[in-house]
């Protein structure tokens, strides 16, 4: 038999019992669709995370104190930020951040408990959080600990409703601040609600809201923006050696951590990796279950068609002819099922993405992967029944009722 004859015979075998063939394929259809949809969902989640991290700011270097460093007497200080700005080459801006404790924030309209974020003049550029209305505070205002505040988009509405907040007064704790600007809408980035923040000069935080007497000019985070992707590595090295020197620690056991967006993406990816591998397992198992379904039906089919096999053998079909016939049937079932599964998977991913708040990104290689797995499953689970058919004895097969 040549290839097209084998295909023809297998096709006739499949179409002889259409409903059963369809039910057999269902396992593969679901398996393939599941693989594609699962991968689309995790790719969508990853894309969302990546976008969020990128919107932290371009070419961002993040310096934080290392928690639990043994013998670390000093922590990250505002003077460290100033030193970075002065001494490190290849950076365009440095911003430091330190929060107040939770305080009452009051306007003429509303009052609630929150924290204010003390930061520096470079903050909007470095962190890619543009000012919407008014302006951000300047280095001069920072230097003279001016009592000025810039409001997040959301908190401005909470505090002042329809009124223009600029020029108004907010009371943070017991200190009165003049509102000089409102940030553009930013939303949630890496779990921080930027629209809910209140920015004040960091020097005011040191002066008025230091978390404890000992804290001094301690900062939570220093952000530095590299000139470009290329200067990142050199800037990081300079920052590390500078801080190690200032903190009097060894470079290989620092009391601070220097990260980039890429590092944060990696950490975030690690947290989704478990979720993703779970999805992959679910999808993989459903493919295997689909394969077992094919094997099961093929075994039933071989038993049911024993007489047909005997007839074919009696007119000259060799064991190989029979093996190929049933293997091709199994393969055809899984490939046709795989094809339908691809359509269902792509369609399903699209519907998930379009209807829910779940983002999906269809990954072309996932289609290949799912379809390829279906083919492998077909051959793998089809071989045993096909071999069983091939090994039937002609006379016993003919005698089978």
């Amino acid at each position: 038999m040549n290839f097209s004859e084998i295909l023809n015979v297998a096709w006739e075998g499949i179409t002889a019992n259409k409903v059963r063939s369809l039910l057999t394929m269902l396992g593969i259809i679901i398996g393939v669709a599941a693989v594609i949809i699962m991968i689309a969902i995790s790719a969508g989640t990853e894309a969302t995370i990546a976008e969020q991290i990128n919107s932290l700011g371009a070419n961002l270097i993040i310096v934080t104190p290392k928690r639990g460093t043994p013998g670390a007497s000093r922590t990250l200080l505002f003077s460290d930020a100033e030193a970075i700005a002065e001494e490190v080459h290849g950076i365009t801006g440095v911003a430091a951040e330190q929060n107040t404790t939770t305080l009452i924030v009051k306007s003429s309209e509303a009052a609630f408990e929150t924290t204010a974020t003390g930061t520096t003049a470079d903050f909007p550029d470095v962190r890619d959080v543009p000012v919407g209305d008014g302006r951000f505070f300047t280095q001069q205002e920072l230097d003279r600990t001016a009592k000025v505040a810039v409001l997040g988009y959301g908190i401005a509405i909470d505090l002042f409703g329809e009124q223009d907040p600029i020029g108004q007064t907010v009371t943070i704790g017991t200190t009165k601040f003049t509102v000089i600007g409102v940030m553009a809408e930013k939303g949630l980035v890496a779990d921080v609600d930027y629209d809910g923040r209140i920015y004040i000069p960091i020097t005011v935080v040191f002066q008025k809201f230091a978390p404890s007497q000992m804290a001094g000019d301690r900062v939570r985070t220093i952000y530095a923006q590299a000139e470009s992707q290329e200067t990142m590595d050199s800037a990081i090295l300079q920052i590390e050696s500078l801080l190690a020197r200032r903190h009097d620690v060894e470079l290989d056991s620092p009391d601070f951590t220097v990260q980039t967006q890429q590092d944060i993406i990696s950490t975030q990816e690690a947290t989704t990796a478990a979720f993703r591998s779970l999805l992959a397992w679910v999808a993989g198992v459903s493919l295997i279950v689909g394969g077992i379904g094919i094997m099961n039906i093929m075994l039933v089919s071989v038993t049911e068609r024993t007489r047909e096999i005997g007839i074919r053998q009696s007119v000259g079909a060799t064991p190989n002819d029979i093996r190929w016939q049933f293997l091709t049937e199994a393969l055809m079932l899984s490939l046709v099922g795989g094809l339908i599964g691809v359509v269902a998977g792509v369609g399903g991913s699209w519907i998930f993405g379009a209807s829910g708040d779940m983002r999906t990104v269809i990954v072309p290689t996932s289609i290949l992967l799912a379809f390829g797995s279906a083919a492998i499953v077909g051959v793998f689970f089809g071989y045993f029944p096909a071999n069983k058919a091939a090994q039937l004895d002609p006379i016993e097969a003919l005698r089978h009722e």
């Binding site: 038999m1 040549n2 004859e5 015979v9 006739e12 002889a16 007489r307 047909e308 005997g310 007839i311 074919r312 053998q313 009696s314 007119v315 000259g316 079909a317 060799t318 064991p319 190989n320 002819d321 004895d393 002609p394 006379i395 003919l398």
Partner: protein, 247 residues
């Protein structure tokens, strides 16, 4: 005549089961059949006729003994080689037709051509050959019917067309009229004679002496042995047959 026999067996034995329950379905059968012969095999039920036919048809293998088919020793061939022999040298006609039930007469007849490893004919060629074979058995108007839409006689004629399609050197028929009424049975026998007249070698099992009567040679089998072999019709078969009173 000193031509090469088409069938030559030596001491064929077929043992079913083992030990105490072993049954010798064939117990030393040696026969020779020459090309062009039309031979009937008779014998009581369970005497081993079908067992012999299946071995002659290369569907089954003897436990012991030699079988030389058209000069080739087929006793030790493997499954692939036996399949090729069945395909090209043999045409088997069964009592129960053994047609693919959801396949048209044409495709049933084409089936042996599909498994012909030596000749790769196009589909058109195969259809043409099958159509010719069906026409030869008088079924030109039933080519696209499925077996379940046909009478027993028609089904058997499809089976005969299928057996003929590869122009085999030997036609084996195990009770080809066994499932048919008398009239269809005679029609099938007429067809068999026609094939014989055209030069085919035919070995046929039958229960009915009046059908065996039509053949030139009758071999009688009893308890797995050849009891008698003669050219005087069914008379030499010793067993009392219910059909004897009928004649």
């Amino acid at each position: 005549m000193n031509q090469q026999p088409i069938i030559q067996t030596a001491d064929l034995r077929k043992i079913y089961g083992m030990g105490d329950i072993a049954v010798a379905a064939l117990d030393g059968v040696s026969v020779r059949i020459d090309p062009g012969e039309f031979v009937s095999i008779m014998g009581p039920s369970g005497s081993g006729k079908s067992t012999l036919m299946n071995i002659l048809g290369c569907l089954d293998r003897p436990t012991e003994g030699k079988y030389i088919l058209a000069g080739e020793d087929v006793s030790d061939l493997n499954k692939e080689q036996l399949a090729a022999i069945r395909n090209r040298q043999l045409g088997f006609i069964f009592q129960s037709y053994n047609l693919l039930s959801r396949t048209t007469a044409l495709k049933n007849v084409m089936l042996p051509l599909l498994y012909d490893q030596n000749n790769h004919r196009s589909n058109e060629e195969r259809e043409e050959m099958a159509l010719a074979a069906l026409t030869a058995v008088g079924l030109a108007d039933r080519v696209n019917h499925q077996p379940n839409e046909m009478s027993g006689g028609q089904k058997q004629r499809v089976a005969i067309a299928r057996a003929l399609i590869n122009n085999p050197s030997l036609i084996l028929a195990d009770e080809p009229t066994g499932n048919l009424d008398t009239k269809s049975g005679y029609e099938i026998m007429d067809l068999m004679h026609e094939l014989h007249d055209r030069g085919h070698t035919i070995v046929m099992v039958t229960h009915e002496p009046d059908i065996a009567e039509h053949t030139e040679r009758v071999i009688c089998v009893r308890d797995g042995k050849v009891e008698s072999d003669g050219r005087d019709g069914a008379n030499h078969c010793a067993q009392p047959s219910p059909a004897e009173g009928r004649r």
